[in-house]
């Protein structure tokens, strides 16, 4: 069956791109209202968003739980600095160095993503989770043992100063926030396009029933690898952005705890929902700061005990609560009001006879408890 898709598909892609551009401009404008520290946090949120957007698609649409997404960001970060560093030493100007660095990030994270995708194609749920767990634990060892990766101290990243014409207008944190926002838009928009089209359909098909998908001509292995690669490219860009914003790449930052925070972000935001991934990214970056502020009001020795631990406890509790009570995360919880809001914005015409309708298209469905079996006594 060869349905011509150019007409409606091209239009919906254009709509997505236009909406992404509008949001990006909105975010760029918002940076003027924030002070430098908030802009730094915004940049970190944008970088985290690159990773969570990919992860939410991976877990939500194809059901593969990756506990090592931090490694993909690490690959992006190291890829960036290993190319941008020598490029800077060779005297290349800022933009060229930055672009080359991004290319390095994409290459590195893409390579790791392909490998993980191949593993994911072969391995079922807990085995893949275990492999990614071992991978993230081995990252510090890899950084220490492989020469040139700077060991525990890591590598320092060439500093991206505010370009000449803008020096009077903005400080460096705002400039970095701009870089982060633009890169995040570039990284996430293709994911949204992918998700809304045939590839997204295939992912849902493979997740729903592999055998049926295979019979329908969809190759599960290829789909899973593709999903991993897509999410890893996005995560890699996020890692590169993080490297630029913090001027440092070291293994300590890409820890198991961070990987778990990414999982928290996508679950709380709602699996499969890119908007949820954005909300989740904001949550994991801002919540520790909020908890610290609250805890600092307490007497010193209590505060010392609570410090650090309380934020983790809150995250853990959120993770449990959301999975138990709101399996769809924030996205599902706010679906009603947002749908009403979205109804007022211009949308693409709905595609005719969309075969993705029904319960299997809802990525959060496997977090919800199944109906009670009739054999229950």
């Amino acid at each position: 069956m060869n349905r011509p898709v150019t007409g409606t598909r091209a239009r919906s892609v254009r709509a997505i791109v236009v909406r992404a551009a509008l949001l990006t401009l909105l975010a760029l404008a918002a940076t003027f209202a924030l002070d430098p520290f908030r802009n730094y946090q915004l940049a970190v949120i944008a970088a985290t968003f690159c990773a969570t957007a990919g992860l939410t698609l991976l877990v939500g649409l194809t059901g593969q739980l990756s506990l090592g997404h931090a490694v993909l960001m690490a690959a992006g970060g190291y890829g960036y600095v290993l190319v941008a560093g020598p490029a800077g030493d060779a005297g290349l100007p800022g933009p060229a160095r930055f672009a080359l660095g991004l290319a390095g990030a994409l290459a590195a994270s893409g390579a790791v993503g392909v490998l993980l995708g191949l593993a994911g194609a072969r391995l079922r749920g807990p085995y893949l989770a275990g492999l990614t767990l071992a991978l993230v634990i081995a990252l510090p060892a890899a950084a220490t043992q492989i020469p040139g990766l700077g060991k525990d101290q890591g590598l320092s990243v060439p500093f991206e100063a505010v370009p000449g014409p803008l020096t009077g207008v903005m400080v460096v944190e705002q400039w970095h926030a701009w870089i982060a926002i633009v890169v995040a838009a570039v990284a996430v928009t293709p994911l949204v396009v992918l998700r809304s089209g045939r590839a997204g359909l295939r992912m849902r098909a493979v997740h729903g029933d592999e055998v049926a998908a295979r019979l329908a001509g969809v190759s599960p292995a290829r789909v899973k690898v593709g999903a991993f690669v897509a999410s890893s490219l996005s995560a890699g860009l996020g890692g590169a952005v993080l490297a630029v914003v913090t001027q440092n790449v070291s293994p300590g930052r890409y820890s198991l705890a961070f990987s778990l925070l990414l999982v928290v972000a996508v679950v709380v935001g709602g699996l499969g929902s890119v908007g949820g991934a954005a909300a989740g990214a904001a949550l994991v970056v801002l919540l520790p700061w909020v908890v610290e502020t609250v805890a600092s009001g307490l007497p010193a020795d209590v505060a010392q005990r609570l410090s650090g631990n309380l934020a983790v406890a809150v995250f853990g509790a959120l993770l449990v609560a959301v999975t138990v009570a709101w399996p769809g995360g924030l996205a599902a919880a706010t679906a009603g009001p947002r749908a009403r809001l979205a109804g007022r914005l211009p949308r693409a015409r709905p595609r005719p006879a969309d075969p993705s309708s029904g319960p299997s298209s809802d990525p959060s469905h496997d977090l919800r408890p199944e109906p009670r079996p009739i054999t229950e006594r």
Binding site: P36, D152, F159, G252, A282, A342
Partner: protein, 425 residues
Amino acid sequence: MRNHAPTPTPAAKAMAAAGAAVVGLTVAACSSPAAATPGVDDETVKVGTHQPLTGPAAAGFSSISAATSAYFEYVNAQGGIHGRTIEYVVKDDGYNPANTQTVVRELVQEDDVFALLNGLGTPTHSSVLDYLDQNGVPDLFVASGSTTWNQPEEYPNTFGFNVDYVVEGAALAQHAADQKPGAVVCVLGQDDDFGETFLQGVELALGADGVATYQTYSTSNEDVTAQIGAMKEAGCEINLLATINGFTAMALGTAAQMDWFPQWYASSSGGDYPTLVGFLGEDVGPKLLEGFVSANYLPNSPGGDWYELFQQINDEYNDGAPFDGNTVYGMSVGYLFAEALAKAGEDPTRESLVEAVGSGELVGNGILPLTFGADDHAAYDGVGIAVVKGGVQDFVDATYRVDGETVSAVEPEPVPLENDGIPAP
């Protein structure tokens, strides 16, 4: 009724961005205006630090900031420095450089601290060096023995505190050579900057082939049987340790299990007697640690003036927390900062503070004079040797200084306690 699941993406993104803007606006409206000299007003001076209070690395270091805070409370109770109390803001980074970046930016931009004091950890602090430098924040007395903090050209506002690992390695190795010429010397080091630079120091004193075997351990693997086995097989007589306290205890314990009792020499990061007894147990510890040698540069002398003052402060202002090497360390750092603040003048600015430290006029409270100067941002260039005798760890008559490539034995010059440990302006 739409016939597919709602695609929230663009609308949700708009909501998220709008939400962020609203939050940002309200918060931006709340942030305080920048003071003329950040962190200083007529009543208080605010300084900040990043420390690992949680996470796997916290065990060895979390008590340091509490000790420094206790010392500052003591100073504040006596009227402060130039009539100002010192406020110490301690933020946890869990030994994770990502968190360090965030908390240091918070300290500088949100808390408006006057200076950063005693930032702990080599990988953690390295990640914020450039940021602090770019923002002109005085970065005083970094808690790490790396040589990175001693770069006056690159980082004019950054000053170290710990004696660096090269000096420690060289001093301990020289002492080994002096005590037992011709003995087989081996090194057990942490598999990072700590171990490597320590080894460099050892080879400075003993020559490139002076070390029979160099074994490394990783903090993620709490088992050193393989390494100790290798050292025993190599016939080591004196083992130099670039280890943290937990692993020093592991090394001694594992060797004892193998019925092997060589001489142990530890760096100041892993040579604290009370902590080691805590790890090894009250029954086994004192026996194993008899004759244990370690390096130190602070007045860690039971019965000494500084020691007793710190004990009093600990009892009164630190909720009777256990008193060990970390307590002496934390309070000594506090004392040095108070001294710098006093020298910075009646109306201290960031420039005057940095100048006060770099002037070379600070005295500190160590067993050797401070070496701060225009082209030296390291605090100490030598250490004293301490030995455990009869359950008491105290300095013996051996002090070494490293000058470039040479190690020489010198006389200690301990700073006497004056003015009850409150620096005079």
